[in-house]
């Protein structure tokens, strides 16, 4: 698919209106829970009281709780939560397999990523977008503030589908270079010859909070294939002659369901957020579904 066309069709005015709508809806849904600031486990100079601890030499006198000293005759230090922005990493699968379906899975992934990025930017989070296939193909540096959305659009639009999927290698490469933990949103079809679990294990290993958006196309779920076929793998160009029989189709459908079930089970096992969708499902509904999972916005 040409990127020029994608730019026009994916992120037009109507799309922007939808993003704004999603932003409003998300605020209404999660009002009182989240603000621009994120609480961290770090104790720092924030306004929110966190805990007490014994004073040790070198501590800032300004945080001593004098009232407690008068009552207990002990020097007790008040601790406050450190407030900082949340890094969100959008790993968008741009392998050749994503260039499949009508609309393509990559187009759908772009829209979902764009929507989530917009909401993240609106919440003053640091949004990182990474395009990966058999490695990190492109990386957008951290963006903050709604004004950066067009830069993200451009990045997503320029994303071209090619290469085989090797998420494990891609994530490993990225995580070893990227320093801060954050929310990792993986948008992929998870057709990974090396296995999806190893890739997600990497993200878990680096203690990212993980949210999985599993994209499928209707043609994959229920392929309307018949007859004597030469199947060509879009990523590897590997071919295989097969005769499509009803039983074979049934077996394929069962295998696909089994595969999706495996991804979901993995996510459930490690308490990862997981949403599966098809490309014909309205992406705005999907975004709201992501919110409802309560993992994207804390």
């Amino acid at each position: 698919m040409s990127t020029a066309n994608a730019n026009v069709t994916l992120f037009d005015d109507e799309f922007l209106k939808k993003l704004e709508y999603l932003n409003i809806i998300s605020k209404r849904l999660f009002a009182g829970q989240n603000r621009a600031e994120r609480r961290t486990r770090r104790r720092g100079t924030g306004l929110e009281f966190a805990d007490y601890r014994q004073y040790v030499p070198g501590d800032d006198f300004r945080h001593l709780d004098w009232k407690a000293y008068l009552r207990l005759n002990r020097l007790i230090l008040k601790l406050f939560e450190e407030e900082e922005d949340l890094p969100i990493y959008f790993f968008v699968d741009s392998s050749q397999s994503m260039n499949y379906g009508q609309p393509t899975k990559l187009d759908y992934a772009r829209r979902v990523a764009a929507a989530l990025c917009y909401i993240g930017l609106a919440n003053l989070d640091r949004v990182n977008v990474i395009s990966f296939a058999d490695g990190v193909k492109a990386e957008l540096p951290p963006q903050r503030g709604k004004g950066r959305i067009f830069k993200i659009f451009r990045f997503l639009t320029d994303m071209a589908p090619n290469g085989e999927t090797d998420a494990r290698s891609s994530f490993k490469t990225y995580c070893t270079e990227t320093r801060r933990r954050g929310l990792a949103v993986v948008i992929s079809d998870f057709f990974d010859g090396h296995g999806f679990a190893g890739a997600l294990d990497i993200l878990r290993h680096f203690r990212h909070d993980i949210f999985v958006v599993h994209i499928a196309s209707h043609e994959e779920i229920d392929p309307g294939l018949r007859g004597e076929l030469l199947l060509v793998d879009a990523e590897s160009n590997a071919t295989r002659e097969i005769t499509i029989t009803p039983s074979l189709l049934t077996a394929y459908r069962a295998e696909y369901a089994k595969y999706c079930e495996a991804v979901e089970s993995y996510c459930g096992k490690y308490q990862l957020g997981y949403v599966r969708t098809t490309t014909d499902f309205p992406f705005e509904e999907l975004v709201l579904k992501v919110f409802r999972q309560g993992r994207f916005l804390k």
Binding site: N99, D189, F191, L225, L231, V232, S236, L248, A251, Y256
Partner: protein, 585 residues
């Protein structure tokens, strides 16, 4: 298994070629449609898993080939017309001879007829034969004789169209060397058959009272007097028989007779009170099995006077004789005053002949010279009559063996019918067309006028000229009438189809009746009656018991190729079904 259309070598080659071709076609690579999928990971898994069932996959492959080869072989071998004796029976020939005697119309206790039983038996033979069995059907009337055929429907149709026909049944000439010959009969009319013939009986004893003779004959002593002779015989159990003789004018004679088994009733009925026309005799009795012989027909000539012109120079004996005849309206004239008249029915020329033939029939006495008559070539003295034709209507009841003739003219009788002659010399000749009778001798030079047969002769001549004749007697079946191009009608006016054979008109009828054959102004009546004790005696069968026919049935009723094509069609349907459901490849 043998093949009717191919030699064993050809059949083997056909099997090898067909099988080889189909297998070769199966191994040809199909051009696969190229389809790009997002990932073949899942497809690989599915296929790898399916390869675990590779035995089934191989079986599917083999099954597909086997089905295809089987279909091709079935079609190919069907063309070779295979034959398996164990299934279809050996290639045999069966000749079915059906007895079409009139007695086959006899009704049986179940209300059907012997003929219907025979038809059932014949169809049983057809059903019992193998698919390749050839059949031939012949009747005993000589009317039906097919060639050998395996087409049962054709044979069955033909049998359905047959019926008892003729009064003269004969066993046909059939060859028993290569064929099985079955004769389905009641055994009444045909008793002797060749030894190789297997006889199937449809006989069942039945009661029958039939007319075995019925005819009208003239009374020699009474001009235009007729009487009817009737003979009825009982061939069943003792029965009371009602006998009726009825005429066209409503006249009726009824009689009753009690006839024991085998007893006959004979009677002569005076028909002087009957007007002319058809006469019907009928018998009525209970439980009569053969209606065909319960009626008989005859024809009573219509009585009327013949307007006769006697042209003579003087012949008292002849003139007196004619004047005494109640059925002759006589006019006498001498040759000088002779004028042909349209009101005259017949002429008698005594020692005279006009220059041209009259329009009406004539009796010429004395062989005078005339252009339309045979010229005299000489004279014969004291000729003795050596031959005469009693069968000719003119000579009926006339005895001329002791006739004494002084002189007679000698004529060339070519083209004429000689009904009395002295060795080579014709004495009485007849011309059929124009109709005339000539005596080559003068009455005065013979003692013929003094013979008792002379008035009968004159009466016969006048009757032959103008009066209606008694009906010809014929039996049911092919009926011939001695008239060419005649139209045949029943007594109630219905036209019967007829043919011309050897100058005669021929028609077919299976029912007794009175028929009229008309050609121009000529009219002949034909009385068709069974009237034959050989047919009425329906219990005179050679079969002692009603032998049941053991039918032989084969498993298959048609040739194998038919079933092979059906099987091929079924397999194609199965293949189509399984292919579209990917059960077979």
């Amino acid at each position: 298994m043998t093949f009717l259309a191919l030699s064993p070598l050809q059949a083997a080659l056909l099997v090898i070629l067909t099988g080889g071709t189909i297998v070769a076609l199966y191994f040809l690579k199909l051009r696969h449609r190229r389809v790009v999928v997002s990932s073949s990971i899942l497809w690989r898994r599915v296929l790898d898993e399916q390869q675990l069932h590779s035995l089934w996959e191989k079986l599917r492959w083999i099954l597909s080939i086997v089905i295809a080869v089987t279909i091709a072989l079935l079609i190919a071998l069907a063309l070779a017309r295979p034959e398996a004796e164990s299934l279809t029976g050996k290639n045999e020939r069966i000749v079915i001879v059906l007895d079409t005697s009139p007695t086959m119309n006899t009704q049986t206790s179940d209300g059907r007829t012997r003929w219907q039983r025979a038809v059932d038996n014949a169809k049983g033979l057809l059903d019992g034969g193998g698919p390749t069995t050839e059949f031939r059907v012949i009747d005993t009337a000589g009317a039906t004789a097919t060639g050998f055929t395996t087409d049962r429907n054709e044979v069955r149709k033909l049998i359905g169209e047959m019926s008892p026909k003729t009064a003269d049944p004969q066993f046909p000439r059939v060859d028993g060397k290569d064929s099985q010959v079955y004769f389905i009969s009641d055994g009444v009319t045909i008793h002797n058959t060749p030894s190789f013939v297997k006889r199937i009986s449809v006989f069942e004893a039945a009661n029958n009272v039939g007319i075995t003779a019925f005819e009208i004959r003239s009374i020699p002593s009474t001009p235009l007097g007729y009487e009817a002779y009737l003979e009825v015989q009982n061939f069943g159990q003792t029965a009371e028989v009602g006998i009726t003789v009825s005429g066209a004018g409503g006249q009726r004679i009824n009689k009753t007779a009690l006839l024991a088994t085998g007893e006959s009733y004979r009677d002569v009925f005076d028909l002087s009170q009957f007007g002319g026309g058809g006469i019907r005799a009928a018998v009525q009795t209970k439980d009569d099995a053969l209606p065909l012989d319960d009626v008989a027909f005859a024809y009573l000539p219509v009585k009327r006077k013949t307007r006769t012109l006697l042209v003579t120079k003087g012949n008292n004996s002849l003139e007196t004789l004619l004047k005494l005849d109640n059925y002759v309206d006589l006019t006498v004239t001498d040759p000088a005053n002779y004028r042909e008249s349209p009101t005259i029915d017949a002429y008698i020329f005594d020692r005279f002949a006009p220059a041209s033939a009259p329009a009406r029939p004539a009796l010429i006495i004395g062989a005078p010279n005339a252009p339309w008559l045979k010229p005299s070539t000489g004279e014969v003295t004291k000729p003795e009559i050596t031959t005469w034709s009693e069968d000719h209507p003119v000579m009926q009841f006339v005895s001329v063996h002791d006739l004494s003739i002084e002189r007679a003219a000698s004529i060339d009788a070519g083209g004429l019918t000689v009904i009395a002659a002295s060795k080579e010399t014709p004495l009485i000749v007849v011309s059929e067309k124009p109709k005339w009778v000539m005596l080559t001798f003068d009455l005065g030079s013979s003692d013929f006028p003094f013979h008792v047969g002379f008035p009968v002769f004159i009466e016969n001549v006048l009757a032959w000229f103008n009066r209606e004749q008694l009906a010809l007697k014929r039996s049911p079946g092919i009926v011939d009438v001695p008239l060419s191009n005649a139209q045949i009608r029943t007594i109630d006016g219905k036209i019967i189809p007829s043919d011309q054979q050897l100058g005669k008109t021929v028609f077919q009828t299976n029912d007794p009746g009175l028929y009229a054959a008309t050609q121009g102004d000529q009219r002949v009546h034909v009385a068709v009656n069974l009237a034959n004790p050989a047919f009425s005696d329906v219990n005179r069968s050679v079969f002692k018991t009603d032998k049941a026919f053991a039918e032989q049935h084969y498993w298959l009723r048609r040739e194998l190729w038919f079933y092979m094509l059906i099987a091929a069609l079924a397999l194609i349907s199965v293949e189509w079904f399984t292919y579209h459901r990917r059960i077979t490849l």
